[in-house]
């Protein structure tokens, strides 16, 4: 009897309570949350919309040619030089970032004492927090002159120097993501290997790395995506030569640098050159998005659960 009365009171209270805010608030927050989705659609829409205008005016065979001269009297839009420049600088960056980053990750997660880790990790984070424009300045005004002493034929603008500096910029990313993956391997497995008499190196190469390979590969794929999308370093230090060449001591233009060069005032709205920006942007977007999806797929699909 008493019990029922209390229930009635609660029921009455619930009915009396003004639930206006609980009905309206979720909708407001959903609206705000959807703005990020709208942003993505905005990006896809602007890129595709203006790219269509570009591809309707430029034949696809021209796009896959090596002749890029957007500002000449008879403009030609062959994107192969840009793709070439992007991939060469990315490969150079990876040659620096992957070995050094992996070694740093192995050292931090397997060899370093906790006290040393406490010092080293923040330094890597500082390296990761430096704006890319600073790395660009560093590449152009320090690394290029340094390399010129070793390679006299090196141009003032070249693909080698920004590639190396880009690699240095990406080291912390590879290191921290790979380290996370290695730390996620259960201690039991590590202790098992060491209990059987393995050295730390053997434990690392035969147990830790095979067990965390999905995370490591995902970190490398993400690093590639980052290198492809990197803008300021290559814009400053690699220059704007539109030649199709595999000579990394010469100036090359990447896709990102092309976008920056063109928007800095050269192309008026509505010209083919202006629309070519969006076509290049679309290619860039597809590449980086694809890389990220691949990375997510790898870390989800090949993750070993222990």
């Amino acid at each position: 009897m008493d019990n029922k009365n209390i229930r009635d009171i609660i029921q009455q209270n619930i009915k009396k309570k003004n639930h206006f805010s609980d009905r309206i608030m979720p909708k407001i927050f959903l609206f705000m949350a959807l703005i990020s989705v709208v942003t993505t659609f905005g990006i896809v829409y602007t890129l595709i919309f203006d790219s269509i205008k570009f591809f309707s005016q430029v034949p696809i065979r021209e796009v896959f040619s090596t002749n890029l001269s957007p500002l000449s009297r008879e403009p030609s839009f062959g994107f192969l030089p840009l793709l070439n420049g992007t991939f060469l600088t990315t490969i150079i960056a990876m040659l620096v970032a992957v070995p050094v980053g992996m070694a740093a990750a192995i050292y931090l997660s397997q060899f370093a004492s906790p006290r040393l880790r406490k010092v080293l990790k923040p330094v890597l984070e500082v390296l990761a927090g430096i704006p890319t424009i600073v790395y660009g300045f560093f590449a152009y005004s320090f690394v290029t002159p340094l390399l010129m002493r070793l390679i006299p034929s090196l141009g003032a603008k070249n693909a080698l120097s920004p590639g190396i500096v880009m690699g240095i910029m990406i080291i912390p990313m590879v290191a921290s993501l790979s380290e996370d993956a290695m730390n996620a391997v259960p201690t039991i497995m590590k202790e098992g290997a060491m209990g059987l008499g393995s050295t730390r190196l053997e434990t690392t190469t035969k147990v830790i790395i095979p067990a965390s390979i999905s995370g490591i590969v995902a970190s490398i794929v993400l690093a590639v995506s980052r290198a492809i999308g990197e803008t300021m370093i290559v814009t400053i230090a690699s220059g704007s030569s539109k030649n199709f060449t595999f000579d990394i001591t010469q100036s090359m233009q990447t896709m990102t640098a092309y976008i920056v060069e063109f928007t800095s005032g050269d192309a008026g709205s509505g010209t083919v050159g202006y629309y070519s920006l969006y076509a290049v942007g679309l290619i860039l977007f597809v590449f980086t998005l694809g890389m990220n999806l691949v990375a997510q797929y790898i870390s989800r699909k090949y993750r070993e659960e222990y």
């Binding site: 209270n13 805010s21 608030m25 927050f29 959903l30 949350a33 990020s36 989705v37 942003t39 993505t40 905005g42 990006i43 602007t46 890129l47 203006d50 070995p99 050094v100 070694a103 740093a104 050292y107 060899f111 080293l120 330094v123 390296l127 927090g129 704006p131 890319t132 424009i133 600073v134 300045f137 560093f138 005004s141 003032a156 050295t199 730390r200 190196l201 053997e202 993400l222 980052r226 492809i228 999308g229 990197e230 803008t231 300021m232 814009t235 400053i236 976008i259 920056v260 928007t263 800095s264 005032g265 969006y278 942007g281 860039l284 977007f285 980086t288 998005l289 990220n292 999806l293 997510q296």
Partner: protein, 318 residues
């Protein structure tokens, strides 16, 4: 019992005789193993030093970078440099315009990202139920975080500059930058909200508060340190970002100091960019770029220190 002992004895004998037979090979094997073990240990130590050298390499590069930039800025970074307007004469040039431009930009970025970021996080953590909309928003945010910044520039150029007609104003730059750093705030705010223990919410509900009151009066105040930390990290990203603003078409040389959000502007990274490009003609611009980088890095260092202090000092643990 006895039988078994006898069996054991026989077995032992057998083993002994076998050991005698293979004594020699066993001995050599032992010495071989010793060699192998020492080789393995040497290899291990060698690898350890290689790995530590690689890690040190990163530190050394950081050291060289800082040394180069600081030594380049000496003699150029002074009060006059901070308070003068832009000039074509290197001795008279300063970054007052760039500093004011950065402050104006932050006046747009901070409120917009905080509002959108925290609201998105509240929706995802508090209101959304497991389902398609929640998954779409989550996947979308993680993908948005990896879109190259130059693409955000193209978005800003099309939507804010051309469609809405903001041109290369502070408003256009600020909105573009806000979208760029939005994922950072969302992820940080999500983590902060998730860290609020369930018993605080339950206590609030138990007192008869409804959901919104609980979020506004209980959950948000507790998670403010975490949200602020994320917001500061997002701001420092926005301060150092160059590419989207260059794509928006910020003019090369701005002598005028901005007074409102519709004015053209310049920020420190843009200033560094143009000075670096122009070192071919005027070598002294390299020193100006160095000096600007020092100011930029000090700003970022202060911001990050504040973030760490907030995280360590005000974060409540339950």
């Amino acid at each position: 019992m006895k039988d078994r002992n006898l069996e054991d004895f026989v077995l032992e004998e057998e083993v002994n005789s076998m050991n005698e037979k293979i004594e020699k090979p066993v001995k050599s094997q032992v010495t071989f193993n010793k060699n192998r073990i020492s080789r393995r240990i040497v290899l291990n130590n060698f690898a350890k030093h290689m790995f530590s050298l690689s890690t040190v390499f990163a530190m050394v590069v950081l050291g060289i970078l800082l040394y180069q930039i600081v030594s380049g800025s000496i003699g150029w970074l002074d009060w006059q440099f901070l308070t003068s307007n832009l000039s074509i004469f290197p001795e008279k040039a300063g970054i007052r315009g760039a500093i004011i431009g950065t402050l104006f930009l932050m006046m747009i970025v901070i409120p917009v990202t905080l509002l959108l970021g925290v609201a998105t996080a509240i929706y995802l953590e508090e209101y959304a139920t497991e389902g398609r909309i929640q998954r779409i928003i989550k996947v979308n945010i993680s993908n948005l975080a990896s879109v190259p910044s130059v693409i955000f520039g193209l978005l800003g150029l099309t939507v804010f500059s051309r469609m809405l007609g903001f041109g290369s104003s502070i408003l256009a730059g600020g909105l573009t930058m806000s979208l760029l750093v939005l994922p950072i705030v969302v992820v940080a705010a999500q983590e902060a909200l998730r860290a609020v223990p369930g018993f605080l919410r339950e206590a609030s509900y138990g007192m008869g508060a409804d959901k919104w009151t609980t979020i506004w009066r209980v959950v948000l105040p507790v998670s403010i340190p975490g949200i602020l930390t994320g917001a500061i990290l997002a701001i420092s990203r926005a301060i150092g970002e160059t590419a989207p603003l260059v794509v928006l078409g910020i003019p090369t040389l701005i002598m005028k100091i901005p007074t409102g959000i519709m004015d053209d502007f310049t920020v420190m990274p843009i200033q560094i960019y143009y000075w670096t490009l122009d070192t071919v003609l005027t070598p002294e611009y390299a020193y100006l770029a160095s000096a600007t980088i020092v100011v930029l890095l000090i700003t970022l260092f202060i911001l990050n220190s504040v973030a760490i202090i907030i995280r360590n000092k005000f974060q409540k643990t339950f």
